[in-house]
């Protein structure tokens, strides 16, 4: 083996990672070649310098900065989660009002097409809604929070409008009844 071939093996040799015939060849070459021996000594010097690199200790300030940031994120997430519950409540109220309103107006609230769907198709629709919600969740906390509050506000607005409409309808009927007006 010539010096170039030896040099290619020398890094692993100095790391103690070379075994068998290769290690034996390097050892034999080093015994007779002062140049490669000097190179090996230098690489060994590099290795011992690297061994002096001790693990460093993370500064306490960095640790406490992270912990306070984590607490802020946690609190924001809990608020967003509470927003989800509130949104669910508002949506349920809105749906009830829509159903009640449509029912009072004599319109079937559930499209007949939906009833004709197979249960598998309905299942798909519901699971798609679920995965959309999950994806919204996977986004940043700010985005999640913003989307949920926007949706909740929309749902509340819708619920209020429906409530007003239902009340108006109710009083219109009573007045009509009282004055024997046929609508």
């Amino acid at each position: 083996m010539n010096c170039d071939e030896i040099k290619a093996l020398l890094y692993e040799y100095c790391d103690g990672e070379l075994t068998g015939a290769d290690a034996e060849n390097v050892r034999a070459h080093l015994a007779g070649c002062a140049g490669c021996r000097a190179l090996a000594a230098e690489l060994t010097g590099v290795n011992s310098l690297l061994k002096t690199a001790s693990p460093l200790r993370a500064p306490d300030a960095a640790v406490s900065n992270v912990l306070s940031e984590v607490r802020t994120i946690s609190a924001r997430r809990k608020r967003a989660a509470a927003g989800v519950h509130w949104l669910g409540f508002a949506l349920a109220a809105a749906v009830l009002l829509i159903v009640a309103g449509l029912d009072a107006a004599g319109i079937s609230p559930i499209p007949a097409e939906f009833g004709r769907l197979s249960s598998a198709a309905r299942e798909t629709i519901f699971s798609n809604i679920g995965s959309i919600m999950d994806r919204a969740h996977a986004h940043s906390d700010f985005f999640t929070e913003a989307v949920f509050y926007a949706k909740a506000a929309g749902a509340m607005l819708m619920a209020c409008l429906l409530l007003v409409a239902a009340v108006e309808e109710h009083f219109a009927r009573r007045l009509a009844h009282k004055f024997h007006i046929t609508r």
Binding site: Y11, G35, C36, A38, L39, E42, L43, G45, V46, N47, S48, L49, L50, T52, A53, S54, P55, L56, R57, A58, P59, A61, A62, V63, N65, V66, L67, E69, V70, R71, I73, S74, R77, K78, A138, S140, D141
Partner: protein, 178 residues
């Protein structure tokens, strides 16, 4: 690297247990900081990388699937944050603040000749420095280092050897053989 307890802690932290996350941080903080410091070469940048790493880990904990060790996942984030900081601050003077807080000089981080490891590392290109940090200082196998760096193990090996060759020239300026 306490993998079993890591998995339990991750599961609890995902459920919102801040104490569990604190436990994960306690177990890995010094390794993350050391890695960032060796790659970035100063305490200020290392602290930024450290903080961004753990905040990002907390935000994305749900995405940790457990198909690698938690430490590998975490150190990969640390490596990416360190690389981002390195490329965004390349215009700034290098190793300006090697002797800052967090650098444990009592631990004899130098040879008898007085050569500072960090100073020597700072002379290397970032890829060589990263490979040497992971393999020779932190003691990862070539495969683990390759996994973290997102390159083949053979390339990590090449980086380590080339990096050592450059260090050799820095440490022995009068070297007869190149």
């Amino acid at each position: 690297m306490m993998t079993d307890s890591d998995i339990a802690l991750v599961a609890r932290a995902v459920e919102g247990d801040e104490g569990a996350f604190q436990g994960l941080m306690e177990a890995h903080k010094d390794m993350v900081y050391s890695m960032a410091y060796r790659i970035l070469g100063n305490a200020e940048d290392a602290q930024d990388a450290f903080q961004e790493t753990f905040v990002s880990a907390f935000r994305n904990l749900k995405k940790f699937r457990g198909d690698s060790k938690f430490s590998t996942w975490l150190y990969r984030i640390a490596l990416n944050r360190s690389r981002d900081i390195l490329s965004s601050r390349r215009r700034r003077p290098q190793h300006e603040s090697i002797h800052e807080e967090g650098f444990d000089h009592a631990a004899a981080d130098s040879t008898d000749a007085g050569t500072d490891v960090q100073e020597a590392l700072s002379t290397l290109p970032p890829d060589y420095r990263t490979a040497i940090t992971l393999r020779c200082i932190m003691g990862y196998t070539y495969d683990e280092a390759a996994d973290m760096m997102g390159i083949p193990a053979g390339t990590v090996k090449t980086y380590v050897f080339r990096g050592k060759d450059e260090l050799r020239k820095v440490l022995s300026p009068g070297a007869a053989i190149t």
